[in-house]
Amino acid sequence: MTVKKLNIKDKYRLLTRDLDWDYSYHERKEAFPFEEFEGIKITDWSKWEDPFRLTMDSYWKYQAEKEKKLYAIFDAFSQNNGHLNVSDPRYVNAIKIFLTGVSPLEYQAYQGFAHVGRQLGGVGARVACQMQSLDELRHVQTQIHAMSHYNKFFDGFQEFSHMHDRVWYLSVPKSFFNDARSAGPFEYMIAIGFSFEYVLTNLLFVPFMSGAAHNGDMATVTFGFSAQSDEARHMTLGLEVIKFLLEQHEDNLPIVQKWLDKWFWRGSRLLTIVAMMMDYMLPNKVMSWKEAWEVYFEDAGGALFKDLARYGIRMPKYSETIKKEKEHISHQAWWTFYTHGHATGFHTWIPSDEELDWLSEKYPDTFDKYYRPRWELAKQMEAEGKRFYTKALPQLCTTCQIPMLFTEMDDPTQISYRDTVYEGERYHFCSDGCKDIFEEEPEKYVQSWLPVHQIYQGNCGGPGVEDILSDFYRMNLGNDNLDIKGSPDELRWKAWKNTA
């Protein structure tokens, strides 16, 4: 018998595609109960294209090779006190935000993809989602391992899991992913697989990973590049999902567009904290948030949406608003964290004079006009021994859960307030985008566990803010929080640099 030569496409199809079958003894719909409730119509799962036809044995082989290299670097990093090579102790606060805010999202992504990896009706799609689930577990665990060494030498990493569940600014990322996971399988795929992993992923990775590279953080940069190779597979899955849904049935178009509008807005709100990190927390700058947005969304995203236009997809709603916002959000966010620095699990500070000049140069239309004067005032007060901490708790947007710190885009001297009444209660929002999301699904968003509301309702202990921070949040007061100046992190850094 002459053995027929199989190409990769045919081989993969034979190994994987025919494993599933039409049920006879029980209702298949009972085994896959979530396929129809979102209104999405799938006529033929066999049309799913597998872009990377990775069999499990190849997966194990290539991923193991990546892991060997990665952990060799983690070991070297810790054996050689690699943390001493970072540019400046202020930098470490950027990765405190990463571990407490982003890593738990990788965990939720593992859970979310495991769920759709079981619930989707097509075996090709299931297998791709299952591999992504496994990758996301990889990400959270390698991040924990990368940060493990920093945790030994700096404050603010030690309670990452406990804090993610409770702390006021961390409910922003947490609720983002809870929203995606509580949605149906197809919305989840558009929200995370496409909008987050394809459109917005570079805006998360470039700031953190390039930031790490420019600031001497070998552990994070190595993790970042290693994880990014998984992201290539995730991006192709995301692109395949949206094309597949749009090609399956024309009725899917308005649903998909609605989801794109929602998730693009929620995603950009989530990135506020990344914008702030990029502009204010990296001693050696990569690029400004504004520049990153222009390269990674306006240019790269532009190419993508041109490609999708043939299906009838248009640019997401509010993209024009976000274009204007790129000039402002990082400044508004950092100011909020600086002034609430007594209640943050990381240190804050006034930018140096060089950094203020860099900000002026990068934001010629906005920084000197609206934001520099605040920092001049802050410097003055600090010099007088009156470093400012706001005593009140901020009102949060019900949808994105960010404090109401955003301004009207056409008048940055006015805070943007929106509200709506639902079943006799008034709900507050930071923007039209967030208000629209609420009004589309009010039953969902009224459930939000808003940290500040919960504090005032007495559900977070107390009675004072300090009690809540130390007992409920488990913050180590005087260590995790307050200004970098005089912090134990800074004092230790100075001591190490003299002795090591």
Binding site: P51, S210, F225, M235, L304
Partner: protein, 89 residues
């Protein structure tokens, strides 16, 4: 026309892959960044297994790209002999 791109880790193996890409896609731009090599081209880019094997001096599976890959942009077509990226416009 929109650009497709691929970014590889800057290590020994990747340099052979980059050389193969440059040979087969003469109009592509190669940008060296910290720890990363980024290659861009208008509309499409192709990595041919045979070209990589010629540069590397050993057998090479297209799927081995996963080890050095950082990220990419464009519609992906993969088979036993090549990986290519393109935008539909």
């Amino acid at each position: 026309m929109s650009k497709v791109y691929i970014a590889l880790q800057d290590n020994d193996e990747s340099r052979y892959i980059v050389a193969a890409i440059e040979a087969d896609n003469p109009d592509a731009t190669v940008i060296y960044m910290p720890a990363m090599i980024r290659i861009e081209n208008e509309c499409n880019l192709t990595i041919n297994r045979e070209s990589v094997e010629e540069q590397m001096g050993r057998d090479w599976d297209v799927q081995e790209l996963h080890i050095n890959l950082i990220t990419l942009g464009g519609n992906v077509e993969e088979d036993d002999d090549s990986l290519s990226l393109h935008w539909n416009e």
